[in-house]
């Protein structure tokens, strides 16, 4: 399935996660953020979004909330203030990477 975000057409899954991270750009990030109740992406938001994205592109998996808290340096409490709907999921969505798979 595809959808149009700002002026770009991108491939997304049923929940709106980009399935092709290469189609992502910063404007798309802002559009997805706004659609999910984050009117403005602050520097702290960007730090987390970039961290998630780089980690995914580097290793093929996105970190869980726990590793995100330990490795990004942003404490879990603050992560929830930044992304109230669930930091790992929402930062992944905004960062244009697939929905994080839970551990097994």
């Amino acid at each position: 399935m595809t959808t149009t975000l700002s002026t770009d057409t991108v491939d997304v899954d049923g929940e709106g996660f980009l399935t092709n991270p290469e189609q992502w750009n910063e404007q798309i990030a802002e559009t997805i953020a706004a659609e999910n109740g984050i009117a403005e992406l602050t520097d702290r938001h960007w730090l987390v979004v970039r961290f998630m994205r780089e980690r995914f592109l580097g290793t093929g998996t996105a970190p869980s909330i726990r590793s995100l808290g330990k490795e990004s340096g942003v404490p879990i409490k603050e992560l929830y203030q930044l992304f109230p709907e669930g930091p790992a999921k929402l930062a992944a969505k905004i960062g244009g990477i697939p929905k994080p798979k839970g551990c097994i």
Binding site: K70, I76, L79, Y80, G86, G102, C103, I104
Partner: protein
Amino acid sequence: MSRKQIVILGGGTGGTMTANRLRRRFGPDEAEIHVVDRDDRHVYQPGLLFVPFGLTSLDEIVRPRRRQLHDGVIFHEAEVAWVELDREEVVLLDGDVIPYDVLVVASGVRLQPEETEGLDGPGWNDRVFTFYTPEGADALRGALERFDGGRLVVNLVDMPIKCPVAPLEFVFLADWTLRERGIRARTELVYATPLDGAFTKPVASQHLAGLLAEKEIELVTEFNAGEVDGVGGKLGSYDGRELDFDLLVTVPLHGGSAYLERTPGMADSLGFVPTDKKTLQTTVKSNVFALGDATDLPTSKAGSVTHFEAEILSENIGRYFAGRELERGFDGHANCFIETGFHKALLIDFNYETEPLPGHFPSAFGLPLLRESRLNHLGKLAFQWVYWHALLPGRELPGIGPAMPARGKKTLPVPS
């Protein structure tokens, strides 16, 4: 070959199986095998689930570690302090040093209740319990005996945890035993999980959510526990939700053993050892291998997984010494019984690629998969005997190899 020294850190499920398999593989003049563990109490951990309900006791599930190790395996009762990777030495807390040619990490997980605000504070072992330790399971038995109705909340703080089905089994058994005692009607049972369903894998998750509903157990999903008030009886999530409880049964956060964090480059940020998915050689150093709960592998942390790994690990240590290419044989195979109460259980079987599916194990005439049955419950009970007498000694189980069997399974379209 010249005589090699193999040192295994941890004398639990994985360490014991590996030591015994290697003892059989190498003659006494080929290899010296050492196992280090901090105590001499080998716990049959699946039994911990039954302790709180008085269905077994610690006496029945704890045995001396030494007695599970074959003759000729050298056991050290000591705490590992750290590893000198370059000097190829293990440093023990008592100051001793053990050199190695090959190191095997089998140190399982460390429970970290202190990482969740208030969890091990006031109320711990009074209204807040875990059955993941022998002492905790025993204390919870007392609390359940005294329990006379109210709100019982079962929560796993976050993945990964060992035996991810155990908290579900706990709530099923609680439902059953409270019904037998006639106090289920005045008890609210709640299962709160950080996952977006009852379990991690879609088909099994649907089956299990159905069972929860049938048994009138409330399922609360995407609940990331952030703080606990053990006196006031409140469990709070990071996103501001609150669950009241009279009794909280928790599975605390899991991390790797502390010595791994004291050894630079040996563990990821949660303390797990980066390990090759197929060969079980770590990416830390070519002479360091790992198995069981201590690895970062994307499969369940379970005894069954550890058992399948032990077979491939011992083969690969042989190949490593012989300078041969390692076998890329591990497929993530896991196999778990799920107790559902009323003398019944479910069985699930899966690997890295295939999620748990209905059908039969290990072939069309075996145990029913993903369906409650008495036979599975008997299988789960028989497993303790198999553990002490076949798995730990490192014997092969007829018909059950490390690779996941596909025959007997019904393939289904995976729901997205």
